[in-house]
Amino acid sequence: MTPTVSLLGTTALLFEAPGETSLATQQRIWSLARETQSWPEVAEAVPGMNNLMLAFSQPPKECDGLTARLLAAWQAAEPLALAGRLVELPVTYGGEAGPHIADVIAHTALDLDEIIARHTAPDYPVYAIGSHPGYCYLGGMDPQIATPRRKTPVLRLPGGAVSIGGPQTGVSASAGPSGWNTIGSTTMRFFDPAQSPPCLLRPGDTIRFRAAKVIR
C-alpha cells in the first residue's frame, strides 16, 4: 500500500498514509510535519488523523517535484514519540450532561457503568488538533463502545461535551454543531487566544477521563 497525495486547489496539498489508523503511523506523521514545516513552499504543516495537510505559502509552479520530495521524506520518516503531558479530565456522565448516552447503551448493548468503565479505562493520545479552536482528535477508544454518528446533527453541542462518533471520542472545545453522541461533560477550557500557545493540549499529549459524577 502506498500513500496518496492530492491537491486542495492551489491552497494546500493533502498527504494520506496507508493502512489502519494507528499511533505508530501518527508518530511518523508528526515526524513528517516537523520536516516539511521548514520547506519554503509550506506555510503550515497540519497533521490530521494519519494524514498531513501542507498549506502553501506560495503554490509551487508544478507539483511533481514537491510530491516526490514528500514521498521520499515519508519513506525516511522515523516515528517521533512526542513526550507530552498527561491531562486528567473530570467528567459528569449521563443525565443532562450526556443526553445521548441512552443511544450508546442501545447500540452497544452495554449498561451505563460498563460504558463509563470502558470510556475511562484508556489513556487517549492526542493525534491532532482540528475541527474548531482547541479541539483534540484522540486515538485509543475501546471499539466496544463505538457508536455511529447521529443521523441528524445536533445544532449546538455545548463546549465541554464529551462525545462518541463512530470509533472516536472527543471533547468539544466550544459550542457548535456536531453529529456525535454526547455521553458527558467537562468544564475544562481547551483554548484561550490570549495564551501562547492558545491550546491547552498539543499532539503527543494524553487525555485520561475520570468519572467525577454519574447522573442516572
Binding site: 486547489g9 497540519v46 494519519n50 503554490p59 474548531h132 492558545p198 491550546c199
Partner: protein, 329 residues
C-alpha cells in the same frame, strides 16, 4: 469612530484572514470577497489586508463620529451618505456626524450579495493570532469575537501616507473579468482526492448541471441543491485538513462548498475544490441563484491567481498615477 445604527447586523469585521493557526484548530475566516476588500483598501491608500466591515444583511446603517475617507466595494447597494448617493467602488469623504446607509443590493451589471465598508486607516480592532478577522466559532477576533450589533462603536486606524484625496473609483473585477457558462455564473474547480470515487453519471451532472445555492448557506459553507452525487462504493474517511473552497459530499449527495469560516478539518469525501482565485465569485453569489462548475487544472488555477494579482497591481498603479496627476493640477 464608527457607530453601528442597524438593529440586525450579521455584519462582521474581516481582513484577508488568519493564516498559520490551522494547527490550533483555527480556520482562516476573512473576507468572503477578497478582491472587494483589497480593492477598497487600495482606494484609500491602506494596506491591502487592512480590516473592513463585511455586510451581508441590508439595509445597514452607521454613523461616522469623525471625518473619515471610506469606500463601499462588493455589492452595489445604492448607498447614501446623508441621503446623497454614494458611488460603488469609489473613494469618498464623510464628515463627522454623517450617516451612511447601504440598501438592498441592486441588480447591477454585476450581481453581488456582500458589501465591504473600507475606511482609511482600516477598522482598528486588536489583531488576534495575527488577524483582525472575526472567528465566530472561537468567539475571538473582530469586534469582541462576534457579529456587530446596534450601538457598537468601532475605532478607525490612522490613515496611511497613500491617502491624499478621494473622489475616484475602480471597475469591479466582476465587470472586467466576468465568468459564465451557458449564461450561468461559473467558478473553476480542480478535482480533489475522492473525485474518481463517484459514478460517471454523478461526475457528468457535477460539471454539466447548474447548482442552486440554498438558504442553508452562510460564511461557513454553501449547501447546494442539484442532482444527487453518488459514490461508486460508500466512502469512510479519516479526519483531515480542508481549506475554503473544498466541495464536500455528505451521504445525502448534495454538495457543500466550504467557505471562509469553514472548519480547518473535516471527514466528508471531497469531489473538488473551487480554486482560490474564484472563491470571491462564489462569496458574492446570492442565495437562490444558480452556479456552474468549470473544470480547471493546476496551470489554469495558477494563471487565475496571477490574473487576480494583476487586477490589483493595475489598480494600485492607476491610483498612484491619478494622485500624481491631481497633485500637479
Amino acid at each position: 469612530m464608527i457607530e453601528i445604527l442597524s438593529q440586525t447586523a450579521l455584519a462582521t469585521v474581516q481582513d484577508l484572514g488568519r493564516h498559520g493557526a490551522l494547527g490550533f484548530g483555527v480556520g482562516t475566516s476573512g473576507a468572503m470577497d477578497e478582491m472587494a476588500l483589497s480593492a477598497g483598501n487600495l482606494l484609500l491608500g491602506n494596506n491591502e489586508a487592512d480590516a473592513a466591515i463585511e455586510i451581508q444583511v441590508f439595509p445597514f446603517t452607521l454613523r461616522f463620529r469623525q471625518a473619515c475617507a471610506f469606500a463601499v466595494t462588493g455589492a452595489d447597494c445604492a448607498a447614501t451618505l446623508d441621503e446623497r448617493p454614494v458611488l460603488p467602488w469609489w473613494s469618498c469623504q464623510a464628515a463627522a456626524g454623517q450617516t451612511l446607509r447601504l440598501g438592498v443590493p441592486v441588480a447591477a451589471a454585476w450581481k453581488a450579495s456582500r458589501a465591504y465598508l473600507c475606511v482609511a486607516g482600516g477598522i482598528d480592532v486588536p489583531a488576534v493570532l495575527g488577524s483582525r478577522s472575526t472567528q465566530l466559532r472561537g468567539a475571538f477576533g473582530g469586534h469582541q469575537g462576534r457579529a456587530l450589533q446596534q450601538g457598537d462603536v468601532l475605532a478607525v486606524g490612522v490613515p496611511g501616507e497613500g491617502l491624499r484625496m478621494t473622489g475616484f473609483g475602480l471597475q469591479p473585477p466582476a465587470l472586467v473579468d466576468r465568468m459564465q457558462q451557458d449564461g450561468v455564473p461559473a467558478v473553476r474547480v480542480m478535482p480533489a482526492a475522492e473525485y474518481g470515487c463517484y459514478t460517471e453519471a454523478s461526475l457528468a451532472a457535477f460539471w454539466g448541471e447548474p447548482w442552486k445555492i440554498t438558504p442553508q448557506s452562510d460564511r461557513y459553507g454553501y449547501r447546494l441543491a442539484g442532482p444527487a452525487l453518488s459514490p461508486i462504493a460508500p466512502l469512510e474517511l479519516r479526519s483531515h485538513g480542508i481549506v475554503p473552497g473544498v466541495i464536500q459530499v455528505p451521504p445525502g449527495g448534495q454538495p457543500i462548498v466550504q467557505m471562509r469560516d469553514a472548519q480547518p478539518s473535516g471527514g466528508y469525501p471531497k469531489i473538488g475544490t473551487v480554486i482560490a482565485a474564484d472563491l470571491w465569485r462564489l462569496g458574492q453569489a446570492p442565495i437562490g441563484s444558480l452556479i456552474r462548475f468549470m473544470r480547471c487544472d493546476w496551470d489554469e488555477a495558477l494563471a487565475a491567481n496571477a490574473r487576480n494579482r494583476a487586477y490589483l497591481d493595475e489598480a494600485l498603479r492607476l491610483i498612484g498615477l491619478h494622485r500624481l496627476q491631481s497633485g500637479r493640477g
